[in-house]
């Protein structure tokens, strides 16, 4: 077991170093898509840490992401950039805690609807604040952070998410979430504080999404609420996580890479039908590979007998 863990850790390290070399190999198209893939890798993996075991589908990723962008956009003339990233993380955590406490007692369907509405609600508020404060509809974020730096930042954040995710899965918290996902009544009667466990994980994924938004703000230069709060983002996170398999820590990344490559091609070829494309992708994933690539791999690779 520990031998296997060491091996997996070394493989992960090698992949991380390999991924970090991408900007040296290419600084054009491939780096650009590398940033996109790294973005969704972080978002989907942290999303799946919460939604995988609990089966609560959150569509609030876009709201957190957008808030992170606007915190950077609004504060870039006042505070150093790194401080804004920290503030974004804290704001994301507080917002997630409030939403979690208010909604995680709801059953699944209400939760989905609520999180979907939330993104729109936050977008309206941000737009309203901007118009009443009389500025233009967007914000300029001018820094000297280029794609290479942003890509590395995302990789480091991704590595952190993996480490924390690995730790959670081995901890009592991770075990509690698996029990909750199986049967919440049993979980409660085993002594688990289900609301607490779910809120902790929701806070984690919300914080990460907000930080990702803050990290990507310099890339856009000009931040507008329609782009920052795109509901498309929340859906892509769900699709990629389901495509890869939300039950495994490494599932989402297996979904993100092929999906983003195909998605990039599709949106370039059919720029006016992206929503339709998204819908079709969603249906295909749910019908054809309900357990994701991770499920397929586990099913068809002859299982090496693991202990446990």
């Amino acid at each position: 077991m520990t031998k296997k863990e060491v091996r997996n850790f070394l493989i992960a390290m090698a992949l991380f170093v390999l991924a970090a070399l991408l900007p040296i190999a290419d600084s054009g198209y491939w780096l650009s898509i590398g940033v996109t893939i790294a973005t969704y890798m972080v978002l989907s993996t942290s999303w799946a840490l919460f939604s995988g075991p609990t089966h609560y589908i959150s569509l609030a990723t876009g709201a957190f992401y957008g808030i992170g962008m606007f915190i950077v956009g609004g504060g870039i003339d006042l505070l150093p950039y790194w401080m804004l990233v920290v503030i974004a993380g804290c704001a994301g955590a507080i917002l997630a805690a409030l939403i979690g406490l208010a909604t995680l007692r709801l059953s699944g369907v209400y939760f989905v609807i609520f999180t979907l509405g939330l993104a729109e609600f936050v977008r309206q508020i941000v737009t309203w604040i901007q118009t009443t404060m009389g500025s233009s509809s967007g914000l300029y974020v001018l820094t000297d952070l280029n794609d290479t730096i942003i890509y590395w930042e995302l990789l480091v954040l991704g590595a952190l998410v993996y480490l924390i995710g690995w730790w959670i899965n081995r901890s009592r918290l991770g075990f509690a979430l698996r029990i909750i996902g199986n049967d919440e009544v049993v979980a409660v009667h085993c002594g688990i504080n289900t609301a607490y466990s779910k809120v902790i994980l929701f806070i984690f994924s919300g914080t990460v999404a907000t930080i990702v938004g803050a990290l990507l703000a310099p890339r856009l230069s000009y931040i507008e609420s329609n782009i920052a709060f795109s509901p498309m983002l929340s859906f892509i996170v769900v699709i990629t996580a389901l495509l890869g398999g939300a039950q495994k820590l490494w599932g989402p990344i297996v979904g993100v890479i092929p999906f983003m490559l195909v998605w990039d091609f599709l949106t370039a070829t059919f720029p006016n039908q992206t929503t339709l494309m998204l819908g079709i992708c969603f249906l295909l994933v749910v019908y054809l590979i309900p357990n994701g690539f991770a499920g397929l791999i586990e099913k068809y690779l002859p299982l090496r007998h693991q202990e446990r």
């Binding site: 509690a176 199986n182 009544v185 049993v186 409660v188 009667h189 085993c190 002594g191």
Partner: protein
């Protein structure tokens, strides 16, 4: 009879809309005692257990465990203070194997184990219910009686001060029934305090020190099994329900 009262239920009422499922129930349970909670279908036995375990909140009355009121607490805290249960319709954790199902009961409740002590305790409990051979099997591959045993082992993992068994012997064939009765008898001789909800009269006679009989939410009799089962009102209640 001065033995310490393990559980005390006082004037507890639970309504579902207009239906009074549990009506002013009161009874006591001493430590090391095995109490049979019996009554015809729909008389409120499961609801009574749900109120005790915190799955449902009573509308009035209170429940206390070793002198401490628990009925104002959420179910997870009640579990932590030492009440464990099984469910009338078996509830297992289907994405996990048998061993993990049992381990689930020993991490967050009255006893909080982890790592090696959790593993060894879980294996011991599996052994106690006669399932040590199937510990790595997925739950879906187990038969109904085996799933019930897993559920019992999960409840025992917390080393409960009070165990609630809701028709744990239902649906077993005669030879399985005898095994099941033996398992509970062992628990009894280990000194466990147990409430058994059961329809199987042989099991009630051989296992219970005392019985509380419910009908339409009310307590209609209480006493030694052989006495209450002879009671006119109790016979009426069971017959009445059969003719209903």
């Amino acid at each position: 009879m001065n033995a310490l009262s393990a559980l005390s239920v006082q004037n507890t009422t639970k309504r579902f809309g207009g239906l009074v499922a549990v009506n002013q129930m009161s009874f006591e349970l001493r430590t090391h005692e095995v109490l049979g909670l019996i009554g015809p279908n729909g008389s409120g036995k499961t609801t009574m257990l749900n109120v005790i375990s915190g799955a449902l909140k009573a509308n009035s009355g209170f429940v206390s465990l070793f002198g401490k009121v628990i009925s104002d607490q959420p179910a997870n805290l009640i579990a932590r203070s030492g009440i464990a249960r099984t469910f009338q319709l078996v509830r297992t954790l289907n994405s996990m194997n048998a061993l993990e199902n049992v381990e689930a009961g020993g991490v967050f409740g009255h006893r909080r184990l982890w790592k090696n002590s959790l593993r060894s305790q879980a294996i011991e409990m599996l052994d106690k219910v006669g399932m040590a051979g199937s510990m790595n099997n997925p739950i879906s591959s187990l038969t109904y009686i085996d799933q019930k045993r897993i559920e019992l082992a999960r409840a025992l993992m917390s080393n409960p001060r009070l165990l609630l068994l809701d028709e744990w012997l239902a649906g077993l064939n005669p030879s399985e029934l005898q095994i099941g009765i033996d398992v509970i008898n062992n628990l009894k001789s280990e000194g466990h305090t147990i409430i058994i909800v059961e329809h199987v009269m042989d099991a009630i006679r051989s296992l219970c020190d005392r019985c509380v009989v419910m009908n339409t939410g009310k307590k209609i009799a209480e006493g030694k099994p052989e006495e209450v089962l002879e009671d006119e009102g109790v016979i009426q209640a069971y017959l009445g329900s059969e003719h209903a």
